[in-house]
């Protein structure tokens, strides 16, 4: 039975936007008892479509044609009062960012109670009972106590569960989930995906699940719709789209998915290690004052690893695991209180700030956020030459070198006089890499360098890093939360949990025979691990093989 039918939907953007339509002539249907995944990159219009269904479009954006039928009735033509009755009642939605999706000044239980108050005739006691029941059904502990908590006391995963409870309060038949797990840790993501799957099955609902991650699609979808630039380019059963994609864009997206590479050649460790970290520990003390003790956060405890010349070591962990600590210590942004970091034999941590300076040239960093890592008021040329100039090189020579560095990262020399805002996210990361390479370092610390990028761009930047490290015989410390991404580029992988390294070894071993329970948990949580990318779409991915 068709629950929701989107027919020829076209949504106009206000004049001055980079294209006329956010969404153009989109048609698809959501059946009962199925999870339909809508996949696309940023700007594909997938989120806009969802907002249109819920009547949550911003004022400047309007539906110019098409219909959205719920059980046959066109939702868009209904008067506002009836639309509101549907919203939260028969059709509900959960959003991406759990940290900001709940009213910070209202108790969690009250926020769920609100839905019941305005959609049902239940009295206070009945509502209260139902709230507790709902919280329990989404797996939250101590629901009677939790309902009186304020959102700030809950973790991201817990808040998302509350959102789901809120969405299910009045037994809707359609649930729209707009990237609900994108902002969550991979283990939490698995729990939420399991929850949504269970909910959908037991309540016989139709779920429209929006995501950019094909792994998630492989994990939960019954059917898939692929969107690009506001149009649906492919739609069909999950097995068909994932294994026999027809449209070139779908094929491009799937081939860009980071995936376990079983064929990666073992890295031959030659000579003395370039970097040797021994027992590095760092604890942060936050707040504290006259009347309250400081909070301590263990950012790293007894971290030890080695990086040999030409090797890429990956530090994988979820948020709060301390994975950034070592990287930041090596480049001098953090000062650990214990341990040694030996670079080519010299203990960097024993050096004073001034003594450390010349060593900066050997270790450079690439940051996560392409929008915040470039000074918006400097030209690309200024940015790339800032390091060499700070170390005394004259501007002209530095600029010449910058031109060559830009070439290395695949950008045209004309970029030198332009400003960051003229470039896309992927291009900005390339500029970031160029800046790091300008000082000709021996070790590159990449701190989540592709986490903020779209999947297809992500693949390009990872390819670039791979190419550069072979060409320049660069060593890399690659920090990421995504094991799949680590699998793409790392020779050795270290898994971190709560500040400690729980497992470390060659990538192949860590993936095929994980020893620590947490590693196994992480591997198990990878969405869609049962699915492998179709053979004909993996030509580019073979670089890790014996070359």
């Amino acid at each position: 039975m068709t629950l929701l039918s989107v027919e020829g939907l076209t949504i106009d953007l206000p004049p001055g936007a980079d294209r006329r339509h956010a969404v153009e002539d989109v048609t698809f249907a959501l059946e009962r008892e199925e999870i339909l995944c809508v996949v696309g990159e940023s700007g594909s219009g997938k989120s806009m479509t969802a907002h249109a269904i819920m009547g949550l479009l911003p004022k400047a954006v309007t539906v110019s044609s098409g219909a959205i039928r719920h059980h046959g009735t066109d939702v868009l033509s209904l008067p506002e009062k009836q639309q509101r009755a549907l919203r939260g009642g028969r059709i509900s939605m959960i959003f991406q960012e759990p940290m900001t999706a709940l009213n910070p000044l209202m108790r969690v239980g009250d926020q769920i109670d609100e839905v019941l108050r305005y959609h049902t005739q239940l009295d206070r006691a009945a509502r209260r009972a139902r709230v507790v029941e709902l919280l329990a059904s989404v797996g939250l502990p101590e629901p009677e106590h939790l309902r009186r908590s304020y959102p700030f006391r809950l973790s991201g995963g817990q808040r998302q569960r509350v959102m789901i409870a809120m969405a299910l309060a009045v037994q809707p038949d359609v649930l729209i989930a707009d990237e609900p797990t994108t902002a969550l840790d991979v283990t939490t993501q698995k729990q939420i995906l399991d929850l949504i799957r269970e909910v959908q099955a037991t309540r016989h609902m139709g779920v429209m699940f929006i995501t950019h991650d094909f792994g998630v699609v492989a994990e939960i979808a019954h059917r898939v719709a692929v969107m690009q630039h506001g149009r649906v380019v492919e739609i069909g059963r999950a097995a068909d789209v994932l294994n026999r994609p027809q449209h070139p864009y779908t094929r491009q997206l799937i081939s860009a998915v980071p995936h376990l590479i079983e064929h990666r050649a073992d890295f031959a460790r030659a000579g003395a290690p370039l970097l040797k970290a021994e027992g590095v520990s760092k604890t942060f003390h936050l707040g504290g004052g006259l009347f309250r003790p400081a909070k301590t956060v263990v950012a790293g405890e007894d971290i030890s690893l080695e990086i040999h010349p030409g090797e890429t070591v990956g530090l994988v962990g979820e948020s709060g695991s301390g994975k950034s600590t070592l990287g930041r210590s090596v480049v001098g942004l953090i000062r650990p209180e214990k341990g040694r970091i030996l670079f080519d034999g010299t203990d960097l941590l024993a050096l004073s700030r001034r003594q450390f300076r010349p060593w900066r040239k050997h270790v450079q960093m690439v940051f996560q956020d392409p929008y915040a890592s470039l000074n918006p008021r400097h030209t690309v040329g200024d940015i790339i030459t800032q390091g060499p100039v700070a170390f005394g090189e004259d501007r002209r020579t530095a600029m010449d070198k910058a031109r060559r560095t830009l070439e290395l990262v695949g950008l045209d020399a004309s970029a030198l006089t332009r400003f960051p805002h003229e470039f896309s996210g992927g291009q900005r990361q390339r500029i970031s890499i160029a800046r790091a390479l300008a000082l000709e370092p021996k070790l590159l610390v990449a701190d989540e360098p592709v986490s903020a990028l779209d999947v297809s761009v992500q693949a390009q930047v990872l390819d670039l890093l791979e190419e550069l490290r072979h060409r320049l015989n660069l060593s890399m410390l690659f920090i990421t939360h995504d094991l799949r991404v680590a699998a793409q580029v790392c020779d050795t992988i270290a898994v971190m949990q709560r500040g400690r390294i729980v497992e470390i070894g060659p990538a192949r071993d860590v993936f095929s025979t994980p020893r620590h329970a947490y590693t196994r948990q992480l591997l198990d949580a990878i969405p869609g691990k049962a699915w492998s990318i179709p053979e004909d779409l993996t030509p580019v991915r073979r670089r890790g093989m014996a070359s």
Partner: protein, 280 residues
């Protein structure tokens, strides 16, 4: 300040009007001696002349001085004091705030306690006390206004510096070997200027209000004819001569309004995202 900026600025009609009016006031101040030669303290005609009289287009005051002349010369005083005191306040505030925001820790704590202290003190009362004790003069007035006005600027500068210090491009500057001084001057400062400039332009308006209030109470520089003084001097004769208080007050109102509009316009132009919000 390129073409894009002026386009964005011009979109706010109020801001354009404000800028035009401000230009007029500056012109009036500059040409005061030409338009109204002689001192505004001189007796120009008979006292208590209503507006549109022969020698006094806006009337004359209790001692026969030309009100229009007073307004023209007063423009100088207001603009001078407004700009200078704001400049001093900006220097103090930005310096303290930048140091607090950049270095953090105990330095930040100390500066913040100090700033909080000044923000708790009722600022107009302090200004009155300072000017009264150190005898009214341009210097004491400018310093008094600066001393009571710097805290919000310090808070702003501190917030900007704190937020920018942890921004990734600043961290990149650290890792590529730039010195602290270079980082502050070339990386952080240019990116923190726009809110400071907007704040400063709004502060000139507040400074003019403060100055006029001080002169109203009789704490203005005795050698300078200021708009506030004119209103204050006419306070007791308001029943008979409304124009003596009216016109100088209007002058203050329009100038401060113009400055506020310009400040808002600058804000909209430098932060285009904010500008669009109110109109969705």
């Amino acid at each position: 300040m390129n073409a894009d900026f002026w386009h964005a600025y011009a979109r706010n009609k109020g801001a354009v009007v404000g800028l035009v009016f401000l230009a007029l006031v500056v012109a009036l101040a500059a040409l005061a001696d030409v338009l109204f030669p002689g001192s505004p303290w001189d007796m120009a005609t008979a006292p208590f002349q209503p507006p549109l009289s022969d020698d006094a287009p806006l009337g004359s005051d209790t001692l026969g001085r030309d009100i229009a002349s007073g307004i023209a010369h007063g423009a100088r005083v207001s603009l001078l004091i407004g700009l200078t005191s704001t400049l001093v306040a900006v220097l103090i505030g930005v310096l303290l705030g930048a140091v607090a925001g950049f270095y953090g820790g105990r330095v930040d704590d100390a500066v913040m306690r100090f700033t909080e202290l000044f923000q708790t003190i009722p600022n107009f009362v302090l200004a009155v006390v300072l000017v009264a004790i150190f005898t009214p003069s341009i210097t004491s007035i400018v310093l008094a206004i600066a001393i009571v006005s710097w805290p919000p600027l310090a808070r702003l500068a501190r917030a900007e510096f704190m937020s920018l210090r942890t921004r990734e491009f600043v961290q990149a500057a650290v890792t590529t070997g730039q010195s602290n001084a270079t980082i502050i001057l070339r990386q952080i400062l240019p990116n923190s200027l726009s809110p400071i400039i907007v704040s400063a332009s709004l502060m000139v308006a507040t400074a003019i209000l403060l100055e006029s209030s001080l002169s109203f109470l009789g704490l203005g520089d005795p050698n300078m004819m200021s708009w506030g003084y004119m209103v204050g001097a006419a306070r007791t004769v308001i029943r008979q001569a409304w124009w003596m208080s009216f016109f100088p007050g209007v002058a203050i109102l329009l100038t401060v309004l113009a400055l506020n509009l310009v400040g808002e316009g600058l804000n909209d132009a430098m932060n285009p995202k904010m500008a669009r919000r109110g109109r969705a």
